[in-house]
Symmetry: D4
Subunit: 255 residues, 8 copies
Amino acid sequence: MKNDEIRSILDAVAGGTLSVDEAQEKLGGLSFAELSYAKLDTDRMVRQGFPEVVFCSGKPKEALVSIYRKLYEAEGAVFGTRASEEQYDAVKSVIDDTTYDPVSRILRCGPATTERKGLVCVCTAGTADIPVAEEAACTAEYFGTWVSRIYDVGVAGIHRLLSQTEQLRKANCVIAVAGMEGALASVIGGLVARPVIAVPTSVGYGASMEGLAALLTMINSCANGISVVNIDNGYGAGYTATQINRLAEEGKDGR
Amino acid sequence: MKNDEIRSILDAVAGGTLSVDEAQEKLGGLSFAELSYAKLDTDRMVRQGFPEVVFCSGKPKEALVSIYRKLYEAEGAVFGTRASEEQYDAVKSVIDDTTYDPVSRILRCGPATTERKGLVCVCTAGTADIPVAEEAACTAEYFGTWVSRIYDVGVAGIHRLLSQTEQLRKANCVIAVAGMEGALASVIGGLVARPVIAVPTSVGYGASMEGLAALLTMINSCANGISVVNIDNGYGAGYTATQINRLAEEGKDGR
Amino acid sequence: MKNDEIRSILDAVAGGTLSVDEAQEKLGGLSFAELSYAKLDTDRMVRQGFPEVVFCSGKPKEALVSIYRKLYEAEGAVFGTRASEEQYDAVKSVIDDTTYDPVSRILRCGPATTERKGLVCVCTAGTADIPVAEEAACTAEYFGTWVSRIYDVGVAGIHRLLSQTEQLRKANCVIAVAGMEGALASVIGGLVARPVIAVPTSVGYGASMEGLAALLTMINSCANGISVVNIDNGYGAGYTATQINRLAEEGKDGR
Amino acid sequence: MKNDEIRSILDAVAGGTLSVDEAQEKLGGLSFAELSYAKLDTDRMVRQGFPEVVFCSGKPKEALVSIYRKLYEAEGAVFGTRASEEQYDAVKSVIDDTTYDPVSRILRCGPATTERKGLVCVCTAGTADIPVAEEAACTAEYFGTWVSRIYDVGVAGIHRLLSQTEQLRKANCVIAVAGMEGALASVIGGLVARPVIAVPTSVGYGASMEGLAALLTMINSCANGISVVNIDNGYGAGYTATQINRLAEEGKDGR
Amino acid sequence: MKNDEIRSILDAVAGGTLSVDEAQEKLGGLSFAELSYAKLDTDRMVRQGFPEVVFCSGKPKEALVSIYRKLYEAEGAVFGTRASEEQYDAVKSVIDDTTYDPVSRILRCGPATTERKGLVCVCTAGTADIPVAEEAACTAEYFGTWVSRIYDVGVAGIHRLLSQTEQLRKANCVIAVAGMEGALASVIGGLVARPVIAVPTSVGYGASMEGLAALLTMINSCANGISVVNIDNGYGAGYTATQINRLAEEGKDGR
Amino acid sequence: MKNDEIRSILDAVAGGTLSVDEAQEKLGGLSFAELSYAKLDTDRMVRQGFPEVVFCSGKPKEALVSIYRKLYEAEGAVFGTRASEEQYDAVKSVIDDTTYDPVSRILRCGPATTERKGLVCVCTAGTADIPVAEEAACTAEYFGTWVSRIYDVGVAGIHRLLSQTEQLRKANCVIAVAGMEGALASVIGGLVARPVIAVPTSVGYGASMEGLAALLTMINSCANGISVVNIDNGYGAGYTATQINRLAEEGKDGR
Amino acid sequence: MKNDEIRSILDAVAGGTLSVDEAQEKLGGLSFAELSYAKLDTDRMVRQGFPEVVFCSGKPKEALVSIYRKLYEAEGAVFGTRASEEQYDAVKSVIDDTTYDPVSRILRCGPATTERKGLVCVCTAGTADIPVAEEAACTAEYFGTWVSRIYDVGVAGIHRLLSQTEQLRKANCVIAVAGMEGALASVIGGLVARPVIAVPTSVGYGASMEGLAALLTMINSCANGISVVNIDNGYGAGYTATQINRLAEEGKDGR
Amino acid sequence: MKNDEIRSILDAVAGGTLSVDEAQEKLGGLSFAELSYAKLDTDRMVRQGFPEVVFCSGKPKEALVSIYRKLYEAEGAVFGTRASEEQYDAVKSVIDDTTYDPVSRILRCGPATTERKGLVCVCTAGTADIPVAEEAACTAEYFGTWVSRIYDVGVAGIHRLLSQTEQLRKANCVIAVAGMEGALASVIGGLVARPVIAVPTSVGYGASMEGLAALLTMINSCANGISVVNIDNGYGAGYTATQINRLAEEGKDGR
């Protein structure tokens, strides 16, 4: 719509030859982009109920502190992933209400708990996969999801996993975290009826190629219902699992 | 079997109200594989309500016909992916109630429609991605999902996609199908609040490396809520999307 | 901007408390998306002056003929790349004014010549690279550019290329087309002061890996002013070269 | 040892100043190469008890027939892998005592059975892996091993495999054949105490990259006791499994 | 041409048996290489108007200082990329008129500003891409180009980019800098009519493979007018954009 | 637990010679997961006769010390691979009976020797491959195998290897450890009649790609009887070789 | 040097104000390019003594016939590689003096023999490598080299190769042709004191990746004196071996 | 030959029924392996005239000092590549006659010069390639070759290389050292008639992939007479060039 078209509509309204209702209908098509802009923002608020997530890795201390301070002032809470001890010290020195989990490397300011509903289950193949799993689990918890953890149930000792089948089936979504050969996701996919988010990790050596082997294993899984996120992307898995969990719980809430 | 169940059997044996033979039979059920086997089968029935899916590609005609006949007799319906015209002719010659869609390459026997609920949206970047998208869409429909199709909305003409934002946001889950540079999933991920299943396709040439470039793009997406399935795996995307859609709808059903 | 904000503006105009000028200013932000949509279309017309380009490869004959007929009716001319002889026959049978060049594989309907200005130079390392070079050259010509061709001047006989230096330096942009080791672009980059578009080709065998080796060579070029398009993407190079050529010529035209 | 050193030893023997025993000791080091040559041949006879194996794939019909005829005359039996129907017809036309198995693609002349001992178990993840598994199984049988086959026990339906645990544990060696994500070997490795030979297959599509994904999965297995052969190399797995089986059985034979 | 052939021509001229015209014709072919040599040097001066650019990374401090001193004496100005703080300190200690930008890592001696004309626009997907973008922007500015910066407009929040469309379209050339999935270039390519130089960055983790994923995305872009430089090669993009910008502006200057 | 064992427990309960409490304790193992678990554990004990192996690499000192202490208390011996000097110091400070081998990087607590039988031969191509070879050799020795070492017999000086043929042939299994081009396994495979476990190492530079080149060489070996483990996986090779050696020796023991 | 500078020198010579010696010195720098051009041509004649080599693969029949006819008229002989039977028929129909070798795929016109000197030895690992080896051998023979062939001496049966050591050591240069694991070159490199040209072949399957595995093996060879050409590039190896052989023989000729 | 065959020959000699000459002839076949061993050693002495070369990289200081001491005592000279400053200090402290070149990283003991003949030319594309080039040049010099160095003549400024054509053509062999796009070898291959050894270097960034891009460029070179060694393998190139140079010079010596 050209500017002069907009003008002629306005002229008609001013001149009384066009009702406000008719004008609004004509202009409706215009509202898209800006509304779209606004709507996205609103969406974010509506669907998340918490401030933006900060990817801390590689951010200089000063920049990070400034971001945390700004978000903390605006929102009263900040949630960041892949933070270092040094970053924790720096943020802690300006925001007292700061906690850091060295395993998941999550750096938070503000209240420690959120209201939770539904259930996501996070599994790992080995103990070395736990940091990625904790990033996923803490993300899901922060976003309002109950999380059950089943760690060190790799397929080389399949009985460990099978003994947890009941537990696995209670979840709305399962996150399978594994490095090396990454076969965990396929086995879980065969045991549960819910979506499985597979997270390859960079755990391994030699031909594991920093997680690419596990990524390929998971992408080629012969089980149904498996989809994959980037290597070591615990945050992404926790986020997607939360989306799925909410769909299930929102339905139950009659929303 | 819970420990107290074992105890009550033992009590009965000790009390003489259960013979050793009967006790052994009861405890026999504990032997793990068989129980587990049965439980899985039941699961499949409970959660799917339709026969197994056949991956037709590469199966010799005689073998395929035999599988279709067996499943058709048992279930009254068969659903197969990646079928050829020749395979269609072969199956059609023995099961009259057979239909074939040359675009999605899906070969079906039995009733054409299933009861549907919820909504999944399937998007493609280009027209060449449509066969994979149709495999996803028809799979989701077969499994009982309403599907809206938004095709040819690649990011090089971003306005085409943006004009469909309203439509995208109605779905419980969006499937983004794209070859070449595969950027569609990221843009959609930024527009919707629901999970996005990204399907790389082998569409492209040169450095697209049969879909690997699109796969890498999607796995590295900077948008939240995106997970990825194998190259050209429309079926897998349709299946996962159905799982997610059901979670949303089951909740609404008060189930 | 929310719908009710739009309404309150319209109400104010209708009520006479807001002038049309003021309203237009307030609504200006709205015009973006739809205008954007329209502007893109207009842009395409303004900057190209010809119909869309068709990527013929893999399109079924019926579909291709239908696309050509539609575009030919609308525009009076159609330009398609990567067409086969069979596709030519099919289009020729419905649109008489059709020509096909088996080297560049370009399939055209409508007038054979366009007005040209400026100069782009297209070079190849070997004779096997000529089909890709011709796709680039014919695209640039179709889009209104004069093209000089310097073929078979690979770096293993560097004197062949050097004897053409004068010719190379006359162009606003040089397209360097090479397979195998792809070193042509670097040498040309060192000889000319204008941008060089490098096109790797799939010519070669063994470790050329279908053009990936040439692509890597070109991307790693130590010469300044070189940028790279996809393997065998003559069309893309011709398009970009035309954009650059136009910038040079538009300036001269005082536009 | 230089020739003149040999001569001086011989001179000393001829002159009676060196005994034959002493001379033989001094010359012992010399016997190595030729003996080595001979020993290898003898080894092959001793340890195999059958003629060389022919890799038929790609051999012209005339050449293949000539090889088969020569070996058949010398040994009375020939065993070839990766043969085609056409090659079978060609060999059959000159050697009547010829059989061909279209699944394993093994082409044999001579007696159908060999004496067997010990047990190797061959498993596949899916039905599409059976041709490779049959190449392994038939090779092991031909080399004198009893073989149990457990097919279609992929990890996506783990109960199928677990129900065969008893059977798996009876074998001296297990061959795990799998394409796609190739996770079968890890699970088997966790269930049995014997060596597992993993065979990746080219079954799959997309990011399976013709079996490379399965190869990487298996090489990175977190289970103990797994070693890997080339993609689709059923013959190699059958051969190695036979070597291991013989070691076990030879011990029992008191050898 | 051999030296004695040259001599015999000169002898003939000296002896009067060959006119100067005839001699020049005979010698004409000779002028090529040396002229070529000289012309290249002259070209560099004519088209650049500033000293050579120094690639500082990895150069020992002493060597770097010596290069800077030499160029500074000869030209009165030096421009270097990928410098470290330590290298800055070393150069600063001998050339007082030295400045260093820790973001772009550009190390300059001499006057801070150059005359500028035309406009190039530099965009980034995220904030982590800014160092590469600044290398591009500062290079273009140093070479005499006006630069507009549009940072952090990645495709996962497409509205941020769209709101800048007007700005994008003012430039003679757009540089799109992006890591992770690298989709920014395609979207920009669809919005503007000018050449887009895509710069993949090594920003990302896991399957981003140090920027290779973004490089592949950009090379496979389905948008027209996109060409690609090496990973993190901000300098190369700035250089090529300057070449394009000059073509446009030189035309306007009536050159 | 065998069925007749279950029966005898039940008989004892029925006969009053076993209390229900005692029976439940004995049958506890039967409850599904736990039974399966116990069976594997028992298997591990039966077939290995020593505690679990610890992969030390990357484990924090506190965690490692705690694992070692727990295992040492339970088993009286601990065996760990890929340990650092620092980890040794930490464990040594709490368990006096600790030894560390800086070449193989194996960290042990408890008695230094185990009873051995059979013979495995470990070969390396170069001296740089010795750490991986020692990991294999020490693992095999710890698991009760005699080991002969033949180091630095790479194929570029083939006579060094050939002079050891006799020694090679005495072993039940040969481990071939090689980096760079990794050809050692093929030559050994042609010299011996026993299984060869090939271990690629990350020794090399340039196109050795951290051991991937050696891995590909070994997987493509044209010799029979070769199977491959992960790059630098000395432990895995030692483990598999022990399995094979035991099969041979168990047979001899009449077991 | 500009043309008018040349003229002023010539004027000075003609006018007697500049001696011929001085003029030659001034013009000396000029002689380079043209001489270089001419010298290259002359070189080709001098060092080869035969017409250009034609790479036949992929050339249309008409084009190939035209090239052969032109070269045959000019030189009386033509030598082409990678020709097909069809190409042979086409050339034969216009040049009667044409021969074709279906193994090496070399297509020749003119006299069958050339004068030969020196010796190059060509070895293959297997019989499937012979076509590439024959391309190398025939090329070397055509260029005037005596060639000894040692085929099927792969490292899995190392005695076959060792028995040929004497023969290998007679050659000025050895060409080692091998696919699969490509270890042949390393072993030969350890046996001879002369340069070894390694030719990887695309023989193999699975992880041989069309010869890339063999290429990597050879590039990483731990033996001295090995250099590598492209996969299947028998011609290149034959050419380089001829260059080396000539250096040796030219020295002997007292040249 | 069996031991009893040897004995019967010896018996015959002892008994006088076989002459020593006849016995030696019969035993001749035996001399192979041990002779082979000895011959190789002798070869090494004959063809090299200096002690073994030590690859210093990664060797612990104590081990390196011990190797140097042993070789120095035996040979009076030691030559090692890829040494560090620290290794130099360690060796220097025990062998006074030690020199170290920090550019080539060569660590030598003993006399600094060797007798030289013939000529090899070493070229680099850039200054960053010089360390690898110096490793090649110093190796060739140490092995008795005259070396001319032509550095920083990359193809982006082709005139720099062309001005050295005369110099290039004087050498018996040219070594072309280049990173980034590695095109230098192709251009040199087109300028000279002698063998070119191409050495890719790890110089570059981004898609240079630590030298793999340059390696691929060189392997795919369209020029004749080029063969390639491993990335950064200056030593290997110097060694092979020496072999070629010796062939040329030995011929001239009438050997």
